[in-house]
Protein backbone atom coordinates (compact mmCIF):
# COMPACT_ATOMS: atom_id res chain seq x y z
CA UNK A 1 0.00 0.00 0.00
CA UNK A 2 1.27 3.40 -0.91
CA UNK A 3 1.24 5.89 1.93
CA UNK A 4 1.96 9.59 1.76
CA UNK A 5 4.88 8.96 4.11
CA UNK A 6 6.33 6.22 1.96
CA UNK A 7 9.15 8.30 0.57
CA UNK A 8 9.99 9.76 3.93
CA UNK A 9 10.28 6.27 5.40
CA UNK A 10 12.62 5.05 2.72
CA UNK A 11 14.69 8.15 3.31
CA UNK A 12 14.87 7.34 7.00
CA UNK A 13 15.76 3.78 6.25
CA UNK A 14 18.52 4.84 3.93
CA UNK A 15 19.88 7.22 6.54
CA UNK A 16 19.68 4.50 9.17
CA UNK A 17 21.58 2.01 7.10
CA UNK A 18 24.19 4.62 6.32
CA UNK A 19 24.67 5.41 10.02
CA UNK A 20 24.79 1.70 10.69
CA UNK A 21 27.53 1.13 8.18
CA UNK A 22 29.69 3.94 9.52
CA UNK A 23 29.10 2.78 13.05
CA UNK A 24 30.02 -0.78 12.28
CA UNK A 25 33.07 0.28 10.29
CA UNK A 26 34.12 2.60 13.07
CA UNK A 27 33.87 -0.08 15.70
CA UNK A 28 35.81 -2.48 13.56
CA UNK A 29 38.68 -0.01 13.33
CA UNK A 30 38.59 0.78 17.05
CA UNK A 31 38.53 -2.91 17.85
CA UNK A 32 41.43 -3.61 15.55
CA UNK A 33 43.58 -0.82 16.99
CA UNK A 34 43.05 -1.91 20.57
CA UNK A 35 43.47 -5.61 19.88
CA UNK A 36 46.68 -5.12 17.96
CA UNK A 37 47.86 -2.64 20.60
CA UNK A 38 47.33 -5.04 23.46
CA UNK A 39 48.91 -7.94 21.62
CA UNK A 40 51.94 -5.83 20.70
CA UNK A 41 52.30 -4.62 24.27
CA UNK A 42 52.28 -8.17 25.63
CA UNK A 43 54.67 -9.35 22.94
CA UNK A 44 56.95 -6.48 23.85
CA UNK A 45 56.95 -7.44 27.50
CA UNK A 46 57.61 -11.02 26.58
CA UNK A 47 60.48 -10.04 24.31
CA UNK A 48 61.99 -7.87 27.04
CA UNK A 49 61.81 -10.66 29.62
CA UNK A 50 63.23 -13.18 27.20
CA UNK A 51 66.03 -10.84 26.31
CA UNK A 52 66.82 -10.23 29.96
CA UNK A 53 66.35 -13.73 31.30
CA UNK A 54 67.29 -16.20 28.59
CA UNK A 55 71.09 -15.99 29.08
CA UNK A 56 70.61 -16.92 32.73
CA UNK A 57 68.78 -20.17 31.93
CA UNK A 58 71.49 -22.77 32.38
CA UNK A 59 71.64 -26.03 34.28
CA UNK A 60 72.91 -24.33 37.41
CA UNK A 61 69.86 -22.10 37.50
CA UNK A 62 67.54 -25.10 37.55
CA UNK A 63 69.52 -27.10 40.11
CA UNK A 64 70.58 -24.23 42.37
CA UNK A 65 69.20 -23.36 45.77
CA UNK A 66 68.66 -19.96 47.29
CA UNK A 67 71.83 -17.93 47.71
CA UNK A 68 73.06 -14.49 48.60
CA UNK A 69 74.99 -14.44 45.36
CA UNK A 70 72.76 -13.93 42.34
CA UNK A 71 75.02 -16.01 40.07
CA UNK A 72 74.71 -19.02 42.35
CA UNK A 73 71.05 -18.70 43.22
CA UNK A 74 68.73 -21.18 41.50
CA UNK A 75 65.09 -22.07 41.35
CA UNK A 76 65.13 -25.75 42.30
CA UNK A 77 63.13 -25.40 45.57
CA UNK A 78 60.73 -22.95 43.98
CA UNK A 79 60.29 -25.11 40.90
CA UNK A 80 59.70 -28.26 42.93
CA UNK A 81 57.45 -26.32 45.30
CA UNK A 82 55.38 -25.17 42.34
CA UNK A 83 55.08 -28.73 41.05
CA UNK A 84 54.03 -29.98 44.50
CA UNK A 85 51.46 -27.26 44.91
CA UNK A 86 50.17 -27.77 41.35
CA UNK A 87 49.72 -31.48 41.90
CA UNK A 88 47.99 -31.07 45.23
CA UNK A 89 45.73 -28.31 43.99
CA UNK A 90 44.63 -30.47 41.07
CA UNK A 91 44.20 -33.49 43.33
CA UNK A 92 42.01 -31.63 45.81
CA UNK A 93 40.12 -29.09 43.73
CA UNK A 94 39.19 -31.54 40.98
CA UNK A 95 37.02 -33.98 42.94
CA UNK A 96 35.54 -31.25 45.13
CA UNK A 97 34.85 -28.85 42.27
CA UNK A 98 33.44 -31.50 39.97
CA UNK A 99 31.18 -32.89 42.68
CA UNK A 100 29.92 -29.39 43.47
CA UNK A 101 29.40 -28.68 39.78
CA UNK A 102 27.43 -31.89 39.30
CA UNK A 103 25.29 -31.14 42.32
CA UNK A 104 24.55 -27.57 41.25
CA UNK A 105 23.90 -28.39 37.63
CA UNK A 106 22.10 -31.70 37.77
CA UNK A 107 20.66 -32.24 41.22
CA UNK A 108 19.75 -28.95 42.78
CA UNK A 109 16.20 -27.79 42.23
CA UNK A 110 15.75 -24.16 41.24
CA UNK A 111 14.67 -21.93 44.10
CA UNK A 112 15.87 -19.34 46.53
CA UNK A 113 18.55 -21.59 48.01
CA UNK A 114 20.00 -22.36 44.58
CA UNK A 115 20.07 -18.68 43.63
CA UNK A 116 21.85 -17.88 46.87
CA UNK A 117 24.46 -20.56 46.18
CA UNK A 118 24.95 -19.39 42.63
CA UNK A 119 25.37 -15.72 43.53
CA UNK A 120 27.86 -16.69 46.21
CA UNK A 121 29.96 -18.81 43.92
CA UNK A 122 30.08 -16.09 41.29
CA UNK A 123 31.08 -13.59 43.96
CA UNK A 124 33.76 -15.87 45.34
CA UNK A 125 35.41 -15.81 41.93
CA UNK A 126 35.73 -12.04 42.27
CA UNK A 127 37.35 -11.87 45.70
CA UNK A 128 40.95 -10.59 45.63
CA UNK A 129 43.36 -13.44 46.09
CA UNK A 130 45.15 -11.83 49.02
CA UNK A 131 41.95 -12.22 51.04
CA UNK A 132 42.11 -15.95 50.38
CA UNK A 133 45.66 -15.82 51.67
CA UNK A 134 44.52 -14.27 54.96
CA UNK A 135 41.74 -16.81 55.25
CA UNK A 136 44.21 -19.61 54.62
CA UNK A 137 46.61 -18.20 57.18
CA UNK A 138 44.00 -18.11 59.90
CA UNK A 139 42.14 -21.29 59.04
CA UNK A 140 44.64 -23.73 57.58
CA UNK A 141 47.92 -22.53 59.06
CA UNK A 142 46.68 -21.69 62.55
CA UNK A 143 43.31 -23.32 63.32
CA UNK A 144 44.08 -26.58 61.55
CA UNK A 145 47.70 -26.28 62.64
CA UNK A 146 49.04 -27.26 59.26
CA UNK A 147 51.80 -24.73 59.64
CA UNK A 148 53.32 -22.78 56.82
CA UNK A 149 53.33 -25.89 54.68
CA UNK A 150 52.75 -26.98 51.11
CA UNK A 151 49.45 -28.48 52.19
CA UNK A 152 48.17 -25.23 53.68
CA UNK A 153 49.20 -23.36 50.54
CA UNK A 154 47.53 -25.90 48.27
CA UNK A 155 44.29 -25.83 50.23
CA UNK A 156 44.23 -22.05 50.08
CA UNK A 157 44.80 -22.03 46.34
CA UNK A 158 42.09 -24.66 45.99
CA UNK A 159 39.61 -22.30 47.59
CA UNK A 160 40.78 -19.64 45.19
CA UNK A 161 40.16 -21.67 42.06
CA UNK A 162 37.15 -23.71 43.17
CA UNK A 163 34.63 -21.20 41.79
CA UNK A 164 36.44 -21.44 38.46
CA UNK A 165 36.40 -25.22 38.45
CA UNK A 166 32.76 -25.33 39.49
CA UNK A 167 31.63 -22.90 36.83
CA UNK A 168 33.57 -24.62 34.06
CA UNK A 169 32.28 -28.03 35.20
CA UNK A 170 28.74 -26.76 35.00
CA UNK A 171 29.36 -25.35 31.55
CA UNK A 172 30.74 -28.66 30.33
CA UNK A 173 27.80 -30.55 31.78
CA UNK A 174 25.39 -28.15 30.16
CA UNK A 175 26.94 -28.80 26.74
CA UNK A 176 25.85 -32.44 26.74
CA UNK A 177 22.88 -32.65 24.36
CA UNK A 178 19.55 -33.10 26.13
CA UNK A 179 18.68 -35.90 23.71
CA UNK A 180 21.35 -38.10 25.22
CA UNK A 181 20.11 -37.86 28.79
CA UNK A 182 16.54 -38.15 27.60
CA UNK A 183 17.38 -41.36 25.76
CA UNK A 184 18.98 -42.78 28.88
CA UNK A 185 15.98 -41.88 31.04
CA UNK A 186 13.61 -43.38 28.49
CA UNK A 187 15.47 -46.67 28.83
CA UNK A 188 14.80 -46.66 32.53
CA UNK A 189 18.12 -45.26 33.67
CA UNK A 190 18.21 -43.54 37.04
CA UNK A 191 19.61 -40.04 37.18
CA UNK A 192 22.92 -41.31 38.48
CA UNK A 193 23.17 -43.94 35.72
CA UNK A 194 22.50 -41.30 33.07
CA UNK A 195 25.17 -39.09 34.59
CA UNK A 196 27.72 -41.82 35.13
CA UNK A 197 27.42 -43.59 31.77
CA UNK A 198 26.70 -40.68 29.47
CA UNK A 199 26.92 -37.18 30.85
CA UNK A 200 30.27 -37.54 32.61
CA UNK A 201 32.16 -39.36 29.86
CA UNK A 202 30.99 -36.78 27.36
CA UNK A 203 31.82 -33.78 29.47
CA UNK A 204 34.98 -35.15 31.05
CA UNK A 205 37.58 -33.56 28.74
CA UNK A 206 35.82 -30.22 29.16
CA UNK A 207 35.84 -30.61 32.94
CA UNK A 208 39.51 -31.55 33.02
CA UNK A 209 40.46 -28.67 30.82
CA UNK A 210 38.55 -26.31 33.13
CA UNK A 211 40.43 -27.70 36.11
CA UNK A 212 43.76 -27.30 34.33
CA UNK A 213 42.96 -23.68 33.55
CA UNK A 214 42.18 -23.23 37.22
CA UNK A 215 45.50 -24.75 38.23
CA UNK A 216 47.36 -22.62 35.75
CA UNK A 217 45.80 -19.61 37.40
CA UNK A 218 46.74 -20.91 40.86
CA UNK A 219 50.42 -21.43 40.08
CA UNK A 220 50.78 -17.83 39.00
CA UNK A 221 49.53 -16.53 42.34
CA UNK A 222 52.07 -14.98 44.69
CA UNK A 223 50.08 -12.74 47.00
CA UNK A 224 48.03 -15.31 48.95
CA UNK A 225 51.15 -17.41 49.47
CA UNK A 226 53.19 -14.45 50.64
CA UNK A 227 50.62 -13.82 53.33
CA UNK A 228 50.48 -17.48 54.10
CA UNK A 229 54.14 -17.76 54.83
CA UNK A 230 55.96 -18.85 51.74
CA UNK A 231 59.58 -18.08 52.46
CA UNK A 232 62.23 -16.69 50.20
CA UNK A 233 65.06 -18.69 51.53
CA UNK A 234 64.43 -22.41 51.27
CA UNK A 235 67.73 -24.23 51.30
CA UNK A 236 66.28 -27.69 50.60
CA UNK A 237 63.89 -29.46 48.21
CA UNK A 238 60.46 -30.19 49.68
CA UNK A 239 60.06 -33.82 50.67
CA UNK A 240 56.52 -33.94 52.01
CA UNK A 241 53.35 -31.86 52.03
CA UNK A 242 54.17 -30.57 55.51
CA UNK A 243 57.46 -29.00 54.49
CA UNK A 244 58.20 -25.31 54.22
CA UNK A 245 58.05 -24.22 50.68
CA UNK A 246 58.48 -21.51 48.17
CA UNK A 247 56.99 -21.31 44.70
CA UNK A 248 58.07 -19.61 41.51
CA UNK A 249 55.90 -16.48 41.76
CA UNK A 250 57.05 -15.90 45.32
CA UNK A 251 60.68 -16.44 44.32
CA UNK A 252 60.21 -13.99 41.47
CA UNK A 253 58.71 -11.46 43.85
CA UNK A 254 61.61 -11.71 46.29
CA UNK A 255 64.24 -11.48 43.59
CA UNK A 256 62.51 -8.57 41.90
CA UNK A 257 62.47 -6.61 45.16
CA UNK A 258 66.19 -7.01 45.76
CA UNK A 259 68.36 -4.00 45.11
CA UNK A 260 71.05 -5.80 43.07
CA UNK A 261 70.44 -5.72 39.33
CA UNK A 262 71.73 -9.26 38.91
CA UNK A 263 68.76 -10.57 40.89
CA UNK A 264 66.47 -8.92 38.35
CA UNK A 265 68.06 -11.11 35.71
CA UNK A 266 67.24 -14.11 37.89
CA UNK A 267 63.67 -12.88 38.23
CA UNK A 268 63.35 -12.57 34.45
CA UNK A 269 64.66 -16.07 33.96
CA UNK A 270 62.27 -17.45 36.57
CA UNK A 271 59.41 -15.60 34.89
CA UNK A 272 60.28 -17.38 31.66
CA UNK A 273 60.11 -20.74 33.41
CA UNK A 274 56.77 -19.87 34.98
CA UNK A 275 55.41 -18.63 31.66
CA UNK A 276 56.38 -21.84 29.91
CA UNK A 277 54.72 -23.90 32.66
CA UNK A 278 51.50 -21.91 32.43
CA UNK A 279 51.44 -21.95 28.66
CA UNK A 280 51.97 -25.70 28.73
CA UNK A 281 48.98 -26.18 31.01
CA UNK A 282 46.84 -23.90 28.88
CA UNK A 283 47.90 -25.75 25.77
CA UNK A 284 46.89 -29.10 27.24
CA UNK A 285 43.59 -27.62 28.35
CA UNK A 286 42.97 -26.25 24.85
CA UNK A 287 43.74 -29.56 23.18
CA UNK A 288 41.37 -31.36 25.53
CA UNK A 289 38.66 -28.83 24.84
CA UNK A 290 39.05 -29.26 21.10
CA UNK A 291 38.82 -33.01 21.31
CA UNK A 292 35.79 -32.72 23.50
CA UNK A 293 34.01 -30.37 21.11
CA UNK A 294 34.59 -32.83 18.31
CA UNK A 295 33.16 -35.62 20.40
CA UNK A 296 30.04 -33.70 21.36
CA UNK A 297 29.35 -32.36 17.92
CA UNK A 298 30.03 -35.56 15.98
Amino acid sequence: MKSPFGNLFTLFERFDSWVDRVRRGGFAIYGLIFTVGVVLFILGLFAYITFAGLPRLNMGFFTGYASRLPEQAGILPAFLGTLWVMGLVLLISFPVGVAAGIYLELYQKPGRWSRLLEVNITNLAGIPSVIYGLLGLQFFVREMALGESILAASLTLCLLILPLVIVSTRESLRMVPAGITEAAYALGATRWQAIWFHVLPLSFPGIVSGALLGVSRAIGEASPLLVLGAVAFVPFSPGSVFDFFTVLPVQIFFWATKPQAAFLVNASAAILVLLVLTLLLNLIAMRLRERWHKRIEA
Binding site: E182, L187, A189
Partner: protein, 253 residues
Protein backbone atom coordinates in the same frame (compact mmCIF):
# COMPACT_ATOMS: atom_id res chain seq x y z
CA UNK B 1 -8.88 -55.75 27.56
CA UNK B 2 -6.90 -52.63 26.87
CA UNK B 3 -3.14 -52.52 27.03
CA UNK B 4 -3.14 -48.79 27.66
CA UNK B 5 -6.07 -46.84 28.96
CA UNK B 6 -6.52 -43.23 30.01
CA UNK B 7 -9.56 -41.95 31.86
CA UNK B 8 -10.35 -38.25 31.92
CA UNK B 9 -6.70 -37.37 31.65
CA UNK B 10 -6.00 -33.69 32.23
CA UNK B 11 -2.46 -32.46 31.91
CA UNK B 12 -0.92 -29.13 32.86
CA UNK B 13 2.37 -27.35 32.44
CA UNK B 14 2.08 -24.84 35.26
CA UNK B 15 -1.25 -23.13 34.67
CA UNK B 16 -1.38 -24.09 31.04
CA UNK B 17 -3.68 -27.02 30.44
CA UNK B 18 -2.38 -29.12 27.57
CA UNK B 19 -4.71 -32.12 27.67
CA UNK B 20 -8.42 -31.96 28.39
CA UNK B 21 -10.17 -35.06 29.65
CA UNK B 22 -8.59 -37.45 27.22
CA UNK B 23 -10.08 -40.91 27.51
CA UNK B 24 -8.84 -43.57 25.18
CA UNK B 25 -8.14 -47.29 25.18
CA UNK B 26 -5.45 -48.97 23.16
CA UNK B 27 -5.58 -52.67 22.42
CA UNK B 28 -2.49 -54.86 22.69
CA UNK B 29 -0.44 -55.55 19.56
CA UNK B 30 -1.89 -52.73 17.56
CA UNK B 31 -0.49 -49.56 16.10
CA UNK B 32 -2.23 -46.39 17.15
CA UNK B 33 -1.45 -43.16 15.35
CA UNK B 34 -1.84 -39.80 17.05
CA UNK B 35 -2.32 -36.94 14.66
CA UNK B 36 -3.14 -33.28 15.04
CA UNK B 37 -1.67 -29.84 14.45
CA UNK B 38 1.51 -28.78 16.25
CA UNK B 39 0.98 -28.04 19.90
CA UNK B 40 -2.18 -30.11 20.15
CA UNK B 41 -0.75 -32.29 22.92
CA UNK B 42 0.23 -35.42 20.96
CA UNK B 43 3.76 -35.56 22.30
CA UNK B 44 2.60 -34.66 25.79
CA UNK B 45 0.13 -37.52 25.67
CA UNK B 46 2.90 -39.87 24.57
CA UNK B 47 5.18 -38.74 27.36
CA UNK B 48 2.48 -39.26 29.94
CA UNK B 49 2.62 -42.95 29.12
CA UNK B 50 6.23 -43.43 30.21
CA UNK B 51 6.23 -40.59 32.72
CA UNK B 52 8.90 -38.70 30.83
CA UNK B 53 6.84 -35.62 31.57
CA UNK B 54 8.07 -35.72 35.11
CA UNK B 55 11.36 -34.30 33.92
CA UNK B 56 9.57 -31.04 33.17
CA UNK B 57 9.22 -28.81 36.22
CA UNK B 58 5.68 -27.83 37.16
CA UNK B 59 4.09 -30.57 35.10
CA UNK B 60 1.07 -32.25 36.70
CA UNK B 61 -1.93 -34.25 35.72
CA UNK B 62 -5.12 -35.72 37.02
CA UNK B 63 -7.22 -38.57 35.78
CA UNK B 64 -5.99 -42.11 35.42
CA UNK B 65 -3.42 -43.73 33.19
CA UNK B 66 -3.53 -47.52 33.19
CA UNK B 67 -1.07 -49.90 31.63
CA UNK B 68 -1.98 -53.57 31.91
CA UNK B 69 -4.82 -52.39 34.14
CA UNK B 70 -2.49 -50.83 36.66
CA UNK B 71 -2.26 -47.12 37.38
CA UNK B 72 1.26 -46.14 36.36
CA UNK B 73 1.19 -43.06 38.59
CA UNK B 74 0.46 -45.15 41.65
CA UNK B 75 3.18 -44.62 44.28
CA UNK B 76 3.91 -48.35 44.32
CA UNK B 77 5.01 -48.26 40.67
CA UNK B 78 8.75 -48.22 40.11
CA UNK B 79 9.43 -45.43 37.65
CA UNK B 80 12.57 -47.00 36.21
CA UNK B 81 10.88 -50.33 35.79
CA UNK B 82 7.95 -48.64 34.05
CA UNK B 83 10.26 -46.96 31.55
CA UNK B 84 11.86 -50.31 30.80
CA UNK B 85 8.44 -51.71 30.00
CA UNK B 86 7.46 -48.71 27.90
CA UNK B 87 10.15 -47.99 25.32
CA UNK B 88 10.44 -44.71 23.50
CA UNK B 89 11.85 -43.55 20.19
CA UNK B 90 12.40 -39.86 19.64
CA UNK B 91 11.84 -37.45 16.81
CA UNK B 92 15.51 -36.96 16.10
CA UNK B 93 17.67 -40.08 16.16
CA UNK B 94 19.67 -39.77 19.37
CA UNK B 95 22.11 -42.67 19.59
CA UNK B 96 24.66 -42.42 22.38
CA UNK B 97 28.03 -41.29 21.05
CA UNK B 98 29.37 -44.76 21.74
CA UNK B 99 29.77 -47.93 19.71
CA UNK B 100 26.81 -49.51 17.98
CA UNK B 101 27.15 -52.46 20.31
CA UNK B 102 27.19 -50.35 23.47
CA UNK B 103 24.11 -48.46 22.33
CA UNK B 104 22.05 -51.61 22.31
CA UNK B 105 23.76 -53.07 25.37
CA UNK B 106 23.22 -50.02 27.58
CA UNK B 107 19.69 -50.96 28.57
CA UNK B 108 20.88 -54.41 29.59
CA UNK B 109 23.79 -53.04 31.57
CA UNK B 110 21.60 -50.75 33.66
CA UNK B 111 19.29 -53.69 34.19
CA UNK B 112 22.28 -55.28 35.88
CA UNK B 113 22.98 -57.90 33.21
CA UNK B 114 26.68 -58.77 33.20
CA UNK B 115 26.70 -62.08 31.35
CA UNK B 116 28.75 -61.30 28.24
CA UNK B 117 27.44 -64.07 26.06
CA UNK B 118 23.87 -63.12 26.88
CA UNK B 119 24.47 -59.49 26.06
CA UNK B 120 26.15 -60.38 22.77
CA UNK B 121 23.28 -62.61 21.73
CA UNK B 122 20.71 -60.07 22.77
CA UNK B 123 22.43 -57.33 20.81
CA UNK B 124 22.52 -59.48 17.70
CA UNK B 125 18.91 -60.53 18.08
CA UNK B 126 17.61 -57.00 18.53
CA UNK B 127 19.69 -55.69 15.65
CA UNK B 128 18.22 -58.42 13.46
CA UNK B 129 14.78 -57.49 14.70
CA UNK B 130 15.17 -53.99 13.30
CA UNK B 131 16.83 -55.28 10.09
CA UNK B 132 20.09 -53.58 10.92
CA UNK B 133 22.29 -56.57 11.67
CA UNK B 134 23.43 -57.24 8.11
CA UNK B 135 24.36 -53.59 7.65
CA UNK B 136 26.38 -53.18 10.84
CA UNK B 137 27.63 -56.62 11.86
CA UNK B 138 31.19 -55.82 10.78
CA UNK B 139 31.19 -52.42 12.48
CA UNK B 140 29.64 -53.27 15.83
CA UNK B 141 32.41 -51.58 17.75
CA UNK B 142 32.53 -48.45 15.67
CA UNK B 143 30.77 -45.28 16.75
CA UNK B 144 27.04 -45.24 16.18
CA UNK B 145 27.46 -41.77 14.76
CA UNK B 146 28.89 -43.10 11.50
CA UNK B 147 25.48 -44.54 10.62
CA UNK B 148 23.01 -42.74 8.38
CA UNK B 149 19.98 -41.07 9.92
CA UNK B 150 17.70 -43.96 9.02
CA UNK B 151 20.14 -46.50 10.42
CA UNK B 152 20.54 -44.43 13.58
CA UNK B 153 16.80 -44.36 14.09
CA UNK B 154 16.59 -48.14 13.69
CA UNK B 155 19.47 -48.45 16.14
CA UNK B 156 17.49 -46.34 18.60
CA UNK B 157 14.56 -48.70 18.16
CA UNK B 158 16.85 -51.67 18.77
CA UNK B 159 18.18 -49.94 21.86
CA UNK B 160 14.64 -49.56 23.17
CA UNK B 161 13.71 -53.16 22.29
CA UNK B 162 16.73 -54.65 24.03
CA UNK B 163 15.21 -54.11 27.47
CA UNK B 164 12.15 -56.06 26.34
CA UNK B 165 9.36 -53.54 26.62
CA UNK B 166 5.83 -54.49 25.68
CA UNK B 167 4.94 -50.99 24.52
CA UNK B 168 6.82 -48.81 22.08
CA UNK B 169 6.15 -45.08 21.93
CA UNK B 170 7.33 -43.28 18.81
CA UNK B 171 7.41 -39.51 18.66
CA UNK B 172 7.47 -38.59 14.97
CA UNK B 173 10.17 -41.19 14.35
CA UNK B 174 10.38 -40.54 10.61
CA UNK B 175 10.25 -36.76 10.58
CA UNK B 176 13.97 -36.37 9.95
CA UNK B 177 14.36 -39.32 7.58
CA UNK B 178 14.44 -39.52 3.79
CA UNK B 179 11.64 -41.38 1.94
CA UNK B 180 13.53 -44.67 1.62
CA UNK B 181 14.47 -44.76 5.30
CA UNK B 182 10.90 -43.80 6.14
CA UNK B 183 9.55 -46.71 4.09
CA UNK B 184 11.93 -49.08 5.91
CA UNK B 185 10.85 -47.70 9.24
CA UNK B 186 7.18 -48.14 8.42
CA UNK B 187 7.85 -51.71 7.35
CA UNK B 188 9.57 -52.24 10.66
CA UNK B 189 6.64 -50.80 12.59
CA UNK B 190 4.41 -53.26 10.77
CA UNK B 191 6.66 -56.15 11.78
CA UNK B 192 6.99 -55.03 15.39
CA UNK B 193 3.24 -54.91 15.77
CA UNK B 194 3.29 -58.71 16.04
CA UNK B 195 4.82 -58.46 19.48
CA UNK B 196 4.49 -54.88 20.70
CA UNK B 197 1.82 -52.32 21.30
CA UNK B 198 2.86 -49.25 19.38
CA UNK B 199 1.74 -45.66 19.73
CA UNK B 200 3.10 -43.40 17.05
CA UNK B 201 2.85 -39.63 16.82
CA UNK B 202 3.01 -38.38 13.29
CA UNK B 203 2.45 -35.25 11.24
CA UNK B 204 2.14 -37.30 8.13
CA UNK B 205 -1.40 -38.35 7.28
CA UNK B 206 -0.27 -40.95 4.74
CA UNK B 207 2.01 -42.46 7.30
CA UNK B 208 -0.80 -42.70 9.81
CA UNK B 209 -3.07 -44.39 7.28
CA UNK B 210 -0.34 -46.77 6.10
CA UNK B 211 0.95 -47.92 9.45
CA UNK B 212 -1.81 -47.76 12.01
CA UNK B 213 -4.83 -49.79 13.00
CA UNK B 214 -6.44 -46.97 14.89
CA UNK B 215 -6.05 -43.25 14.60
CA UNK B 216 -6.71 -40.56 17.16
CA UNK B 217 -7.10 -36.91 16.28
CA UNK B 218 -6.18 -34.43 18.97
CA UNK B 219 -7.00 -30.78 18.71
CA UNK B 220 -6.09 -28.20 21.35
CA UNK B 221 -5.65 -30.97 23.87
CA UNK B 222 -9.01 -32.56 23.26
CA UNK B 223 -9.52 -35.95 21.70
CA UNK B 224 -11.74 -35.11 18.74
CA UNK B 225 -11.97 -38.44 17.02
CA UNK B 226 -10.68 -41.93 17.68
CA UNK B 227 -11.60 -44.79 15.41
CA UNK B 228 -10.37 -47.51 13.08
CA UNK B 229 -7.89 -46.01 10.69
CA UNK B 230 -9.91 -47.00 7.63
CA UNK B 231 -13.04 -45.42 8.99
CA UNK B 232 -11.07 -42.46 10.26
CA UNK B 233 -9.73 -41.56 6.85
CA UNK B 234 -12.65 -42.59 4.65
CA UNK B 235 -15.60 -41.66 6.76
CA UNK B 236 -14.73 -39.45 9.72
CA UNK B 237 -17.66 -38.65 11.93
CA UNK B 238 -16.41 -35.25 12.98
CA UNK B 239 -16.32 -32.27 10.70
CA UNK B 240 -13.04 -30.88 11.99
CA UNK B 241 -11.39 -34.27 11.47
CA UNK B 242 -12.66 -34.20 7.90
CA UNK B 243 -11.21 -30.74 7.47
CA UNK B 244 -7.88 -31.68 9.02
CA UNK B 245 -7.26 -34.80 6.96
CA UNK B 246 -8.24 -33.08 3.77
CA UNK B 247 -5.93 -30.18 4.56
CA UNK B 248 -8.72 -27.63 4.78
CA UNK B 249 -7.83 -26.90 8.32
CA UNK B 250 -7.19 -23.52 9.79
CA UNK B 251 -4.13 -23.59 11.96
CA UNK B 252 -4.86 -22.02 15.31
CA UNK B 253 -3.72 -18.40 15.23
Amino acid sequence: MYKIETNDLNFFYGNNQVLHRVSLGIEPRTVTALIGPSGCGKSTFLRVLNRMNELVPNARHDGRVLIDNKDIYDPSVDLYDLRKRVGMVFQKPNPFPKSIFENVAFGLRIKGVTHRKFIQEKVERTLRQVFLWEEVKDNLHKSALILSGGQQQRLCIARALAVEPSILLMDEPASSLDPISTAKLEELVYELKQSYTIVIVTHNMQQASRTSDKTAFLYKGTLVEYSDTTTFFTNPSNESTQNYITGRFEQPG
